[in-house]
Structure formats: C-alpha cells, structure tokens
C-alpha cells in the first residue's frame, strides 16, 4: 500500500465501490446493496415524513383500535391515531439518537484510539484497560444505569448510549493503527521529518477509514436496538404523544397480545428490525468486502 492523499484515496475507492454495488455480483455486494437500500428507505421516509404521512400522528383520525383498512392501512391505536402515520414519523427519534450517539462515540473513540495506538506506552496500557472494562460490560445494562442516573430525556439517553460504543471505535482504530504503524511508508514519512500529528492525520488515519465506516454502521444498528431496549424498560426519552417506534411497541404490546390488536405491536417492532437490519447488512457486507476472510494469494 502506498501513501496517498486523503481525497484521492476516497475518490478512487468510493467510485469503485459504488460501481460494484449498482450491479451486485457477490454475496457481500448484495448485502451492501440491500442494506444500503433499507437505510436509504428509512432515512428518506423519516426526512420526508411530513410530506408522505397521511394524517397527523398525534391527533385522532379514526375510531379506536381499528384493524387495518383502506383508510388506515396499519390500523389505529387506542386514541384513533393512524398507525401508518405514527410509523412514518416514528423513526425520527431512534434514528436521531442512534446517529448522534454514534457520532459522539466516534468523536471520542477514534482520536483516543489513534493517539493510544500510535504513542503506545503507559498511556496506551491504561486506556486499553479502561476501554476493555467498559467493552466487556453488557451495553444495555450500562445504558440502563446511565439513563436512570441522568434522567429520561433525549440528550441523556443519547449520551448514555454514546458511552457504550466508545470502546468499540477505540479498539478498532487502535488495532488498525498498530498494524499500519509498521508499514514502510510510515517509516519513510518519519524519516523525512514529518511530525507525529502529520503522520497520524495524513497517513495513518485515512487507512483506518474503511473500518471506521463499518464500525459506524454496525454501531448505529446496535444503538437503535439499545434505545429500543431502554424505551421498552421504561427508561425511554419519549413524552407522548410523540410517535416513536419503541415507545409505541412498549405501550401497546400488552393490549396487542391480550386483545389481538396485533397491528399495534407488529409494525413498530418490524420497522425497528428493518432499520437495524439495514445498518447491520450494510456494515457486514462492507466488512466482508474490505476484510475478506481469505485473500486468495
């Protein structure tokens, strides 16, 4: 691998990638394609919610507990609010929290990983120990404790989730850095006289980007699941009547099971799964592509 400037590197690989995905041939490319499409679908649905939503999701527009019909393809809830509209609008919070939390984790984990991996020594050992401790701990439980501590608000839940994924970014970046560090072009750069920060920023970091993207995607998937879990356990940030997939699921699943109003629980959970699936497939596919199990030598 040769040293490249950041922009040309991105240009070359991205274009190549996009070309491949438009006509997926291998399994991995299929995963990336499907995953990417799901992500796109959900993001577009969320962004253009006000245009495509047939009704206002917070206002009654039909009878109570109506099963799916032409006017209400996904039925209505206890207050006659249209479920389809609630689904369309319901992705905002999980996606927003998932995205922002992961960005936070990225912003903290990546620089720490870079520095720790590159500089090494005592700093590296201590940071690694701390990160390993957090990493090995069940994420949901940590999130529960933090969310309970900080109180249920969107900002706090985001923060609680962000903490969980910092070690993931840290580890991946650090691992990458450790292997890249030994590459010839890095030694060359140092020999020329480039200082630590230039080396890290211009040479090491760009090569970690592909893996960061993968971790990013997978973390968003996990973050959405964690946020849904928190909502389900009653520690969610939603104040009614704001639509939110996990909140609706938690609110109605009891009635759905005991009275058979399946549409109230099925759709919110299904869309949570779709979102998670999208990001997971995308990340997994990318992972297979960029880090294939066996390079045919």
């Amino acid at each position: 691998m040769f040293a490249m400037s950041l922009s040309s590197y991105l240009r070359e690989n991205l274009i190549d990638l996009i070309k491949r995905i438009r006509r997926p041939k291998t399994e991995e490319e299929w995963f990336i394609a499907i995953g990417g499409s799901l992500i796109l679908f959900i993001i577009l649905m969320t962004i253009f919610a006000s245009f495509i939503s047939p009704y206002d999701p917070t206002i009654p527009s039909g009878g109570s507990y109506q099963p799916p019909s032409w006017e209400h393809p996904m039925g209505t809830d206890k207050y006659g609010r249209d479920m389809l509209s609630r689904i369309i609008w319901g992705g905002r919070i999980p996606l927003a929290i998932g995205l922002v939390a992961t960005i936070f984790s990225f912003a903290v984990g990546v620089p720490l990983g870079l520095i720790s991996g590159y500089i090494g020594g005592a700093l590296d050992r201590i940071l690694s120990l701390v990160m390993d401790s957090i990493y090995s701990f069940p994420g949901l439980i940590l999130a529960i404790a933090l969310a309970a501590l900080l109180g249920p608000s969107i900002m706090n839940v985001t923060l609680a989730i962000a903490v969980i994924y910092v070690p993931t970014f840290f580890r991946v970046v650090r691992g990458q850095v450790l292997s890249i560090k030994e590459e010839l072009y890095v030694t060359a750069a140092i020999a020329i006289g480039a200082n630590k920060w230039t080396v890290m920023g211009k040479y090491v970091f760009p090569n970690t980007i592909p893996n960061i993207v993968i971790v990013f995607s997978l973390s968003i998937a996990d973050a959405i699941l964690t946020e849904a879990g928190l909502s389900f356990l009653g520690l969610g940030p939603v104040i009614p009547p704001t639509p939110d997939w996990a909140y609706d699921l938690q609110k109605w699943y009891g009635v759905a099971v005991s009275q058979g109003y399946w549409w109230l629980a099925f759709w919110p959970g299904f869309f949570i799964m779709l979102a998670v699936l999208g990001f997971s497939m995308f990340g997994e596919g990318l992972n297979e592509k960029l880090n294939p199990l066996l390079r045919e030598k």
Binding site: S136, A145, L233, L249, A256, W262, A265, G269, L277
Partner: protein, 337 residues
C-alpha cells in the same frame, strides 16, 4: 514460553484492576442517582423524621468517601447490603433469583449454540452456495430482531391464539417448585421424580429460551462460519490429508477442535451480550430472574439492590472471560506469558 500456571496468575492479576475499575465506576454512577431511595415506595405519607431515621440506618447520610470505603469493604465480605424497598439482605434476594436467570440463559445458549454451530458449519462447508447466502441472511436477521417484539409475536401466536403455551412465569400456579438442588426447575423436578413439575417447567421455558436462543444464534452462526472457513482452508488440514489420515478423523480432531476454540472464546466475550439479552427476555415473559429484578429496583431507586445486581453482572463477566481465557490457554500452547 512460560508455563500454564504463570499464565493463570498473570491473567488473574489483570482481572483485579479491571474488577476494581468496574466496581468504582458502578459506585460513582449509582451514588449520583437522583431520587431518594427512601421515598421510592411511599405515597407521600411518611413524616420527614422517620425518613431521616431510615436514611441514617442505611448510611446514606455519610460523606461520600466513607460510603465508598464501606461499599468496597462490604463487597469484599460478600455483604451486598440491604434493600431499601424490601429491607431484606440483597445477597439473599439475588441468590433467590439467580437460578431463574441461569436456567433461562442455559437453555437459550443451548438452542443458540446448536443452531449456531450446525448452521454455521453447514454454511462454511457449502461456502458460496445458495444455502450459505440464506444462512448468512438468517444470521443477520436473527441478530436484528428486537427481543420484546419477537417475544410478543410468539406470545400472541402460541399463548393467546393457539392457547398451547403459557406467556409468563416459571411454573403453573398449583404446582410447587421441586426441592432445590440446582435451582433449575427442569433439572430439580427430574431429580425429584416429579414429572408434573417437569412438564410445567418445560412448558414455561420453551418460549423465552427459544426467543433468546434465536437472537443469540445470529452471532454464533456467523462466528462458527468464519472460523470454520478459515480452519478448513488451513494448511494443516491439507497436510493431514496428504498424510492419508481419514477424512473422518480430520473432521473431528483437526477441523472441529480448532474451530471450537475460537467459538468458546467468542462465547465468553459475548457473555455480556447474553446477559443483556436475558434482561429483555425476562421482562417480556415475566420471568422472575435478575433482569426483572433489576428493572423493578431501578424504578424504586433501590440503590443497593441495583448496585448489587450490576456488581454481580460485572463479576460474572470477568469470571467468564477469565475462565475462557484460561481454557483457551490450556488448549493452545502458543498462548503463554
């Protein structure tokens, strides 16, 4: 190359600071919890002086560093404190509920491992085929399932629509739990020869363990597949084949053994995930284990209990990863200090 003994010692030493960090973090996080634990239960009827007295009894009015030292000291002695909600020793409450979680986790794991190893291996052996694609898709979908949703769907179908399976608890109301040997109702009832209890226990554990198992199987399928593929292509397999060893033996002693090791390791690392999954499963199925306990106690701001559960989780995680690492080291002679 050092001896296995040295590895164990060093590994243990590493575990201690980790434990310490975790415990301290837990303490800090929970002590900052807003909400007076004393107030949690009452409907605004307790006069202030009595609340004060209770607070004093629990040592909640001491300066924070004294609380910290007491906390560590008590944990060391195995005293997890007293619940502010039920006023009972927490260690006892946790021990009461631990077998339930253990039982659920074990059956969930069995299902997950069976599905994971079988499908993962099939996928690896048939790499590149349609079956492989289906199984890989299954694995990602399984992992993306939201447990409460999946559980609720099954509860509706089997519990309400078909009325064949119960949707909560561990035993029928009229059946007494079997005498405690392991704490696992399924085992204990067999040991006691109480087949009615056995039947009841099985019927109650089917759905929750199935839900947990399927979700966990997603990861296990993937890991098994990855490791098996790598191992199958490894040189030593070819060498063994070249030396004329029967395929049968190659499969068992070389391929399987070598791929099992990483699986065991990952199982250990994923243990944390299993604990988290168990919480959601328990709350969905009214399973009286640690997960439900944790959720309820958080609501009541029962600090000591919440802290106790989290500490237990932390201990379990560290313990399991320790054991796994040691097993790994015992099998693979390259891992030594």
């Amino acid at each position: 190359m050092g001896s296995i003994r040295r590895y164990i010692v060093v590994r243990l030493l590493t575990a201690i600071p980790m434990l310490f960090i975790l415990l301290t973090t837990i303490f800090i996080v929970l002590r900052l919890l807003p909400g007076d634990p004393i107030s949690a239960m009452y409907g605004g009827k307790i006069p202030e002086e009595y609340a004060e007295r209770l607070r004093h009894q629990l040592g909640l009015d001491q300066p924070i560093h004294i609380q910290y030292i007491n906390y560590l000291w008590q944990l060391f002695r195995g005293d997890f404190g007293t619940s502010t909600y039920t006023k009972r020793p927490i260690a006892r409450e946790i021990l009461e509920r631990f077998p339930a979680t253990l039982e659920l986790t074990i059956y969930g794991l069995i299902i997950a491992l069976l599905i994971g190893i079988i499908f993962g291996s099939i996928s690896a052996h048939k790499r590149g085929s349609k079956i492989d694609r289906v199984i890989r898709t299954y694995s990602i979908v399984a992992y993306s399932l939201f447990i409460p949703w999946f559980g609720a769907m099954l509860q509706y179908f089997f519990g309400v629509y078909l009325h064949v399976l119960p949707v909560g608890n561990r035993l029928d109301a009229t059946i007494s739990p079997p005498p405690t040997v392991t704490g696992l109702y399924t085992i204990d009832s067999l040991l006691a020869g109480d087949f009615y209890a056995f039947s009841s226990a099985i019927r109650h554990i089917i759905l929750p363990s199935f839900v947990l198992g399927i979700v966990l199987s997603g990861i296990f399928v993937r890991i098994t597949r990855e490791n098996m593929i790598v191992v199958l292509k490894k040189d030593f397999i070819n060498f063994a084949r070249a030396r004329g060893i029967r395929e049968n033996r190659i499969l068992w002693s070389h391929a399987l053994k070598n791929s099992m090791i990483p699986i065991i390791t990952i199982f250990g690392l994923q243990f944390a995930l299993q604990l988290a999954g168990a919480i959601l499963t328990e709350t969905t199925f009214s399973w009286p284990g640690l997960g439900t306990y944790l959720k309820l106690r958080i609501e009541y701001r029962d600090y000591p209990a919440v802290q106790g559960v989290i500490v237990v989780y932390a201990l379990l995680v560290i313990l399991v990863s320790l054991i796994v690492d040691i097993i790994y080291a015992m099998i693979d002679p390259r891992i030594r200090y």
